[in-house]
Every structure is written in structure tokens, then in C-alpha cells.
């Protein structure tokens, strides 16, 4: 089989060319895919109606306070947390497990407390 200056055969060259074209095609497909998704994600990010994310089980009390822009004491009081740093590194899901209550009862309490705080501090 004839080899060129790189020690390559024609077969190798064709294979490399095909590989590069496949990679390019897949990359362009990926570019389109992610561009569309990015447009949707940007719309969600800038939507004024979605400036606060629903309280979820993975959130910690401190995170809820930060995310919903309320003082940590409001969250602490709603969850009946003691002021000894118990809110540190425990998620709402764990707290619910620990207390044997369903998660939605905790998130419900929190949502009510946050709404009450906001009504008082517009």
C-alpha cells in the first residue's frame, strides 16, 4: 500500500477525514441543541414570576433564608430550631425524617412564615 510523507496510507487519510467530519457534524448538532436549551433556561432565569424557587428537601435552613431573602431567625422560628447552630448542615428532608413528619408539612410551615414576614416587612 503506498504511503505518503507521513507514513500514512490513503485508507488512513480517508478514515481520519471521515472521523473529523463526523465529529464536526456531531459538534454542530450539539451546538444547536444547547443553544435552544440555553434560550429556554435564560427565559426562566429572567422571568420575574420565578425569582424564588420552591422550597425543597435538599435545602438547609440557612439556604432557605438566603434564597427567600428573609432573616435566618424567621426560618429558625418556623422550624422551631434552637439557636445553637442546629440549622447547620442539615437538610429539610433530614429534619422531617428526624421529627417523623412529612416534608411538605415543614415546607408548608416555612412558606407560611415567610409570607407572614413579608406581609409585615413589605
Amino acid at each position: 500500500m503506498p504511503a505518503n510523507h507521513n507514513g500514512f496510507t490513503r485508507r488512513h487519510r480517508t478514515a481520519i477525514r471521515r472521523l473529523l467530519i463526523t465529529v464536526l457534524a456531531l459538534a454542530l448538532l450539539g451546538t444547536t441543541f444547547f443553544a435552544v436549551r440555553l434560550t429556554t433556561a435564560t427565559a426562566v432565569w429572567t422571568d420575574p414570576a420565578r425569582q424564588f424557587e420552591p422550597i425543597a428537601g435538599w435545602m438547609t435552613p440557612r439556604y432557605v433564608a438566603m434564597s427567600w431573602q428573609v432573616p435566618p431567625e424567621v426560618v429558625g422560628a418556623a422550624l422551631s430550631l434552637e439557636q445553637d447552630g442546629m440549622g447547620r448542615k442539615i437538610t429539610l428532608a433530614e429534619l422531617a425524617d428526624l421529627r417523623g413528619v412529612p416534608l411538605h408539612s415543614l415546607t408548608g410551615d416555612l412558606t407560611t412564615a415567610i409570607a407572614a414576614y413579608r406581609a409585615q416587612h413589605p
Partner: protein, 202 residues
């Protein structure tokens, strides 16, 4: 899926940040960018300490890349030994080594932060093609610094809406990776076509 990782970061903090930064450099399918964002967000909330998050993530990422590079080295040695009596494939491998020698540091640099999903594969390739270790380490350390600083800061400053932020960053990361790959393939095709038009030596 990402919620699970947020929970893990909330519960295990630095341990999860370190482990995911290390193992994602070895091609484990872990959404480490989400872990970094969560690390930054929990630091902003006061559950973690910012400098500790950055230090652990950076050290683990660089260590993971070094491990990947070393694994690539072993693989390369094994391949070289096997190619001794197969000159055509050896020529192909020699060509790959030349490409890595010329473009490897650029690849290593950009694959640590801009095109992070390609990172592990670039590390393996760089090791296999015997890229100089100090050049690898230099550009890798620089790139990882950008990656860790960027993602942890994004989480720290914009982490109040972690779900929406994660989606935004994931899509942005995917777009940049696809664009990097398209650019690399274009450059490769152009050079390949130019080389094909050169007259052969015999």
C-alpha cells in the same frame, strides 16, 4: 438528579466536593459543575466556608488530572510496546503524538474549564502521547484555577436560585464544549486537507 447532589453537598460538604472534583477528572459521570455551584451557594448561605470550598475543589481537581495523565502514560507505554511490529499503526500513533505535542497544552488548558466534559479524555491523551509533565501541570493548574474560581463564584453570587442557575450553566457549558469541539474539528479538517495536497515523497 442534581437535587441528590445538592443534598450530598449539604450533608457531607467538603468531602463530596473533593471526591466529585477528583473522580470527574477520571471520566466518572458526575455533575461536578453542579457540585461546585452548590458549594458556592452553601458557602454564601453560611453552611460552608468559601476558602475551604475553593481549596478542596482545586486540590482535588488538579490531583484528579494528574492521576488521569499518569494513567494515560501507562496506556501509552503499553500501546507503544504493542505497535513495534505494526508500522502503519505506529505511524498513526506517532502522528497523534506530534499533534498532542503541538496542540496538547492548548487542549489541556481549554478542556479544564471551557470544554470541561472533554477534560478527562484530554488528560488521558496527553499522558499517552507523552506530553511533557511540567507543561501539562502548568496549563492544567492554570485552567483548573479558572474553572474552580468561576463555578464556585457563580454559586456564591447567584446561588439563591440554584436549580435555575444549574440549568443555565449546564446549557452554557454544553454550548461552549460543542463550539470548542466544532472549532477543533474545523482546524483539523483544514490542516488535513492542506496536508493531503502536499506531494508525497516518492
Amino acid at each position: 438528579m442534581t437535587d441528590l447532589f445538592f443534598s450530598l453537598v449539604a450533608n457531607w460538604g467538603l468531602l463530596i466536593i473533593g471526591l466529585s472534583a477528583y473522580f470527574s477528572c477520571l471520566a466518572m459521570p458526575i455533575p461536578t459543575f453542579a457540585v461546585m455551584l452548590a458549594g458556592g451557594a452553601f458557602a454564601a448561605a453560611g453552611d460552608l466556608v468559601l476558602w475551604q470550598v475553593i481549596t478542596v475543589a482545586y486540590t482535588a481537581a488538579v490531583a484528579g488530572d494528574q492521576t488521569g495523565f499518569q494513567l494515560g502514560r501507562f496506556g501509552g507505554q503499553w500501546l507503544t510496546a504493542r505497535l513495534v511490529d505494526r508500522p502503519q499503526r505506529a505511524a498513526l500513533f506517532a502522528r497523534a503524538v506530534k499533534v498532542v505535542d503541538r496542540w496538547g497544552t492548548v487542549g489541556v488548558f481549554f478542556s479544564t474549564w471551557a470544554a470541561a466534559p472533554l477534560g478527562p479524555w484530554v488528560n488521558f491523551a496527553a499522558g499517552a502521547a507523552r506530553l511533557s509533565r511540567w507543561r501539562f501541570t502548568l496549563w492544567d493548574a492554570l485552567g483548573e484555577a479558572i474553572w474552580v474560581a468561576a463555578y464556585v463564584s457563580l454559586g456564591y453570587f447567584f446561588g439563591t436560585r440554584l436549580d435555575a442557575l444549574t440549568e443555565l450553566v449546564a446549557d452554557w457549558g454544553g454550548l461552549i464544549t460543542a463550539l470548542c469541539l466544532a472549532t477543533a474539528a474545523c482546524i483539523g479538517l483544514i490542516r488535513h486537507t492542506q496536508n493531503s495536497h502536499k506531494p508525497p515523497d516518492h
